[in-house]
Symmetry: D3
Subunit: 242 residues, 6 copies
């Protein structure tokens, strides 16, 4: 028998404990603190009655995202992007991914000429911050839409499905679900998968860190992601039902 | 009888409820979530074994601070400074104040050639974020110094006193302690006072927002600040004793 | 007898020689070269028929300030902020102070939808540049308002009082007025005080550089500042009467 | 029979004509103009005898990439990033992808303490610029390594495999290979796949533009990408054999 | 006899081989690849139906230019300006020169409220990039104007003359025409001359690199430039006649 | 007879009154306020014992320049470059010209491993700021070199000649010397000429603003510039002799 074990002792197909706390701060239309184990991300949804210039007069809204990490969310201090004079490539890549993912569950015509901005700020990082951000931002988005529907007396929600995301990877030769930092920093393949509640793929971003991954490995990873996002969609539903 | 009342119903010399939660995040040497009522600031202290260029080889350390606000800490969304390409004047002014204030309680020679960076990030704003930040950063600094003393086997703490800060102002003609946002945005005079546990002044920054303030008003404000910071120093002690 | 003496030989309550030269350059509506001893600041007031976006249509004007130092105003060359890519924290802090101070003497409704920008550029620095800037900017502002009243045939000046500023500090244990660079760089407490001609406080910014300052020291400093700003207001009046 | 046809008239599994011109400019150690139909990218490989700070003294090299578009590579003029003051999110995302992909075929220890920078500049864009860039950069890298081996008398090439990339997508319901701009701008799913000459995956980035894609669609896309990158690896070999 | 010889073996008054390839890329209204020997510059002309704010409503158009160098156009790699965060002084100086030069051959009133932007991107540099850029940009401008006249059914071309540019300099004491990099980097005087097809001067920029140049040397240089630009105007005519 | 007259009433070959005031500020090694009529530029020369990285260990020094305009040096307020986030193209072009011009009169080997920075800040602008800056910077440079020779006990001055600059142009068809703003903004040709005291040309920058200029016009302009710079060299000598 091989002695494979994950640093956390989890089974290969086991998520970290997930908690979703709504109403974490009071100003935002939606404000959610989501934890994937020790990864904690504050996701707020802000509604503004404006659209970007290129959408003006088209009767559609927009959903966008920004991502940040507090300087000491990480094990050694990271320089503050505002102090460094701008957002780095990794930040831009992540916030573009979050924005695209959440737009996939919104009917922008029903939203009307409004922008919803999802700010995802990592308070504590332990791997998987972007997937936690997407999963939490969906809940914040739902809360903001509820506020909007009450406030504006809308009849139909612009939300057309649920969105959740999880990372998968190959750690010491074994496909595993929901990598924490210890796994992420030494795994061979790292993949972020965004899915909807119908089991459809919204986004797949897989990177071979060590050697190239084979087709059969990919299939195993996608199966893990499918099972993982189903559980996350359940957790979102439970949180929204409270 | 006049019908003066504060929006919160507090007495003129009454602080908002103060809570100080240590160990709020796990990576930083010190990590404190401080609340002054609805104002919540996460203060982390990070130790690094380096000094700025101009201090190299002098056998002294440095204490510095950075300040930020999450975009939706405020009632309407504020643009993210990292996305805007740099820190604004208000941010710089505040983080310089925090840094100066905390340096006033540290013997930089005993600290040795190290930098302690105090990151103060506002999760939720309701007035008084800079004074909450200073008060919380002091506790985070104490925790970081404890870690450092254990790790480096230092015999003497470089901390030479306690530092706390509070705002005072003249609201509807009455000097009041610890302004919340509703008071701050419509008061006549706004003053931030940083004091040490010996009752000495570290910093006074007072601004006449409406009309100029008189000497007798100033005296009343300073008395309120003195009483307020004494209570905050007590709260710090209680938190550190846990 | 103690042997206290200031590097300049001045008495503790003695200002440096102050000169105020109006019309120093010809394009600006107001242009004043002010000297506090060897500190020389060129203050210009520029009137523009526009308001910032957030004031549009409100029938009010705005007064703002910018501050700069020529690279060799200082004893060793300072990097040019334009070449470095932006204004530093100290610059922003100072120009915000100048702007707030001057707004305190203007009725923005009488000003009408106009901006007056006070550019304070230090030609030579020897301590106290921000207080010289405020004191000189007031004179430049008066001149600009006179031009405006003639040009626009206004009946009432929007200026509702005089503003002057001075630094005070504790040098070798003795409270002194109007610190020069030699004193400023080795004093224990440094305070900038902005007052109006009614003896009211507009702004107090005091910093303990060495040890914390006591209440009685603060009282002495404020008395010095009060006497100093009275003399500066006189100097402004004399200059404006020419 | 359905009337599906691609705007270009190509079969669903047909690449655009690919040309690879080595030695396109004369200064770079490797310089390749690659065309995927009307998409033309100049890929240069530059060798420098330095490593980034964090790699110093580790006996390893680095491979990195930068990406740019000439302002009028596109059908309407795009603002020059240098004039706008920095690289945008899309650019950063793409150059990070190119760098990761090419590092996957290099043994950084054999490379020694050197940096090879792959500059991929789009002269003309018609969809698929990032995949053309990766495919061309591999050839430029090979040429630069040949120069290096001759110049430094190295015995072993640090290149451990070939890398090629292609886009696939679902256009009007049909999975197709190598999208041009007309297809890319109206397709439902867009995926970039980077593979090596052993049929292993280096990177998969798939995005649902319209509706989510199903697992069977994904399988078809991956099969197209596999066949497409095999042809591209052949084209690279042929070019390098000249 | 002296043994003067140019590194390239050219006669002192001999241009490098000049080639002008129109339609080099397909999106731009004008797209020209010009070569002065090994110097190759891609010049595109883009027409946009807008004018800068300060020209709005005046019934005039504008012609402007931007200049860039691909990072490995040079013998060692130059940092990408977009990555460095902005255009450097040399780039700005050159693009201002190109813009001014081309505006000299356009009747901006006939152009109407349009902007033509000339992007000059150096693919390979061997001296004289700015003069090649101006000479090529003129051809691209002509092509863009032709497109515009057809598209808008204009009767009169806004182009009022031809513009060409060449460098001249004193190399080893001898005035020479069209310096390549080997000459440029070690010459005593370097001058760029922009002329029109009537023999008039549009711009002269001469710099003494080593010793000051005398009036008689200047006269010889201007004569060379005059002869050189006449040949370039011929080459432009030939290219446009194809 | 035609009724040509310059706005200032000067003869075509007449300079504006030139004044050169040395020791204008006290910190810089050289500090000169130069006036060409209403154009006033403060030129300081700062000596630093360092060289740029690329000159280290070569036994040579460097001379460089920076240029700035106070915001209200101009008839309407110009935005401060430090506030705008960087120096514009015009500023860079001018400071590069000043630096090149002054380097032409310095033997950099005799200077030793030092940098002299010439800061030219325009206090009041009325045309010709760059030529006034060069002419004044030369005097500041001489003063700084004198300080250096005394301080370092150098035997030989690194200054090998005098440098002065003047503008010439064609105003209403007539070649004129030393254009003021009224002439500069409506002239046909504008040329800046930098010469040395031996009558040699250091830099010529001529631009046709309206129509192209002919060779005979150029000859007249150069003759005016030659006579003008001779007078300026005289004024420099007289100032340095004081």
């Amino acid at each position: 028998m091989t002695s494979f074990s994950r640093p956390s002792g989890r089974a290969p197909d086991q998520l970290r404990p997930v908690t979703i706390e709504r109403g974490y701060t009071r100003h935002a239309e939606g404000s959610v603190l989501i934890s994937f184990g020790d990864t904690r991300v504050l996701c707020t949804a802000s509604v503004e009655d404006r659209v970007p210039g290129w959408l003006r007069g088209k009767g559609e809204g927009w959903v966008t995202a920004e991502y940040g990490m507090l300087p000491r969310a990480t094990s050694s201090r990271t320089q503050r992007e505002a102090a460094r004079g701008g957002q780095g490539g990794r930040t831009m890549e992540i916030q573009r991914l979050i924005g695209r993912s959440l737009r996939a569950c919104v009917d922008r015509r029903s939203l009307g000429e409004r922008v919803i901005t999802l700010d995802c700020d990592v308070l504590q990082a332990d791997g998987g911050t972007r997937t936690a951000a997407i999963t939490g931002a969906y809940v914040a988005l739902c809360d903001a839409v509820s506020v909007l529907m009450k406030r504006e007396n809308l009849k139909r929600s612009p939300i057309i499905g649920a969105i959740a995301a999880v990372s998968v990877g190959i750690y010491q030769g074994v496909p595993v679900l929901d990598l924490d930092y210890a796994e992420d920093s030494s795994c061979d393949t790292d993949m972020n998968v965004v899915m909807n509640d119908g089991g459809g793929f919204i986004e797949i971003q897989g990177t071979a860190e060590g050697h190239a991954f084979r087709r059969d490995e990919l299939d195993q990873l996608l199966a893990l992601a499918d099972a993982g996002t189903r559980q996350l969609v359940e957790a979102q539903r439970a949180a929204l039902a409270d």
